[in-house]
Amino acid sequence: MMDAMLKNKSRILLLAFALSLPMIITDEYWIRILNVFYTYAVVALSINLIVGFCGQLDMGRSAFMGLGAYCSAILSVKLGVPFALAFVLSGVFAGVTGAVLGFLCRKSTFDYLTLVTIGFNVICQVLFLNWIPVTGGVMGISRVPPPDFFGFTFDTNTRFYYLALAFLVCSYAVIRRITKSKMGRAFEAIRDDSVAAEYAGINVQYYKILNFTVGSVFTGLAGSLSVHYSQYASPFNFTLDESIYQLQMAILGGLGSLPGSLVGTFILVVFPEMSRAFYEYRLLFVGILMVVMMLYFPNGLLGNAGVGERLIGVRCRVAIRRQLKAGERNGRQ
């Protein structure tokens, strides 16, 4: 009981801190980085839902981000659809595509799913680059209007900050709710052993499709928001490298841990901005990080038995040892 209240309190404090950040940070540049962080955090959460909770190694997440982004950009630039509708429709579009792909892969085993998602990313990349009448080819789509809700335009960095924060908080709440529900338990059962899950009466194929669809909706929405923020849809933002980088965000924080995804995204978005050298070597760094994490902390920073819990474990052990020693001393006296 106390624990839950404490948790709630710390959550409210964190939210208040996030809300007051634009007043503390006056530098526009850092606000912009935080905005990028919030949108990517949603992508990392959706990856965590698919890879961390359901165990489906999806390596083509940025394709769905691209689908959402292009859908939203085309709708609002070429057809003049208002932001709110374009935003929702891009989520629906990405979700439907995800459902179709999930349906096709419903029986696929591990390797094939990874291959199919990589292939899907390549196909999307080729389409973005070459379908010039629709996607604008290499030039991309520019002059995407900034998000606005019924006359209120989120055109400055600070205004967008609140929109992105609200989006992240809502997505986090929904994904957290999903993972705590029957659906989330089914996902985890499939991840741990799909054959056993099937024997336990879980409709594995249905839940796999559902998992893919829900994840894709969030990725598409994040893509839409990011394109309205940068006001430019570029085909080079949705490559396979980008997918791997996003995957690493979820892995670094810990597969199966939602706060972990936020931490992982924060590290991989903010650190490259802090130093030029880091930015240049970021893919090398990500490679080394991937191997080292898998060898020593396969559950990431905040996952089960991850770095966080190990640190706590060390502290507990030290405390226990100290007490034992104290006990020995007392016994001698």
Binding site: T114, L115, V122, I123, I251, L283, V286
Partner: protein
Amino acid sequence: MLLQHMINGLSIGSVYALIAIGYNMVYGILELLNFAHGDVYALGCFVVLGLITAGINPIPAVAAGVAAGYLLNMLVERFAYRPVRFSGRVTPTISAVGVAYIMRNLILKVWGPETYPLRLGFRGTRIYLGGIVIGTLQIYIFFAAVFFMLLITIMLKKTKIGQGIVAISQSIPTAALLGVPVNRTISIVYGIGGALGVIGGILFCMYYDTIFVGIGFALGTIKAWMASIIGGVGSLKGAIIGAMILGLMESLVAGYVSTLYKDAVIWLALIMFILIKPQGFFPSQIAEKI
């Protein structure tokens, strides 16, 4: 014209085949998606390039490159795959992706993203057969692929270490109980895979007359993987035939459909193929392990 496209396709296919053999051997035995295969052999090929630019005779340079591929893949296996061998599917795969990124970025840091010519002092001539052009190099590459396939098949069937590899591919604990040195054998499998990859990569570079960092992942790992899946995981014959089919498909699609959408069409076809026939044309005889 159709015949010419088919000949081109087969010769591209035979290059893919050499890469796919090494890949499929590892893939079939350990069921690890070796994402790093292409980038490891790319590093080996760049070692060859570096030695040749340093003025060393091509033959020892290639030999050194092959040895580098062998050692590099062994090292990678020792430090990145062996510790996670028994921790599910996701963990080793991600570790392999990480290795791929390390290798690729090492190449990018040393040699940059430029395209270099790779001159081995060996040029094929062309044979003209009633309007069709066949390069002699293409024929050599094809026979090299078949030669290595036969060599490995004989090694698997006739030598002690080959039988050890077969035993490991069926069950690691049983193989260990029967006295097969599991770790050493697996490390040799990786070494051979890396060495074959470098040979394939060098032939690939000779075929296109260039070397650049993309030969690793986009043209190596991915094509080898596609070929393995078309042919059947774990089957050497399947790897060669799958690579030929892949080459033919690429050449025909580029010739008759569209060069711009070639990759998209190939991927689409492959995805459809996976959905229809996930075991490939020559499935290995081992049942899926639960």
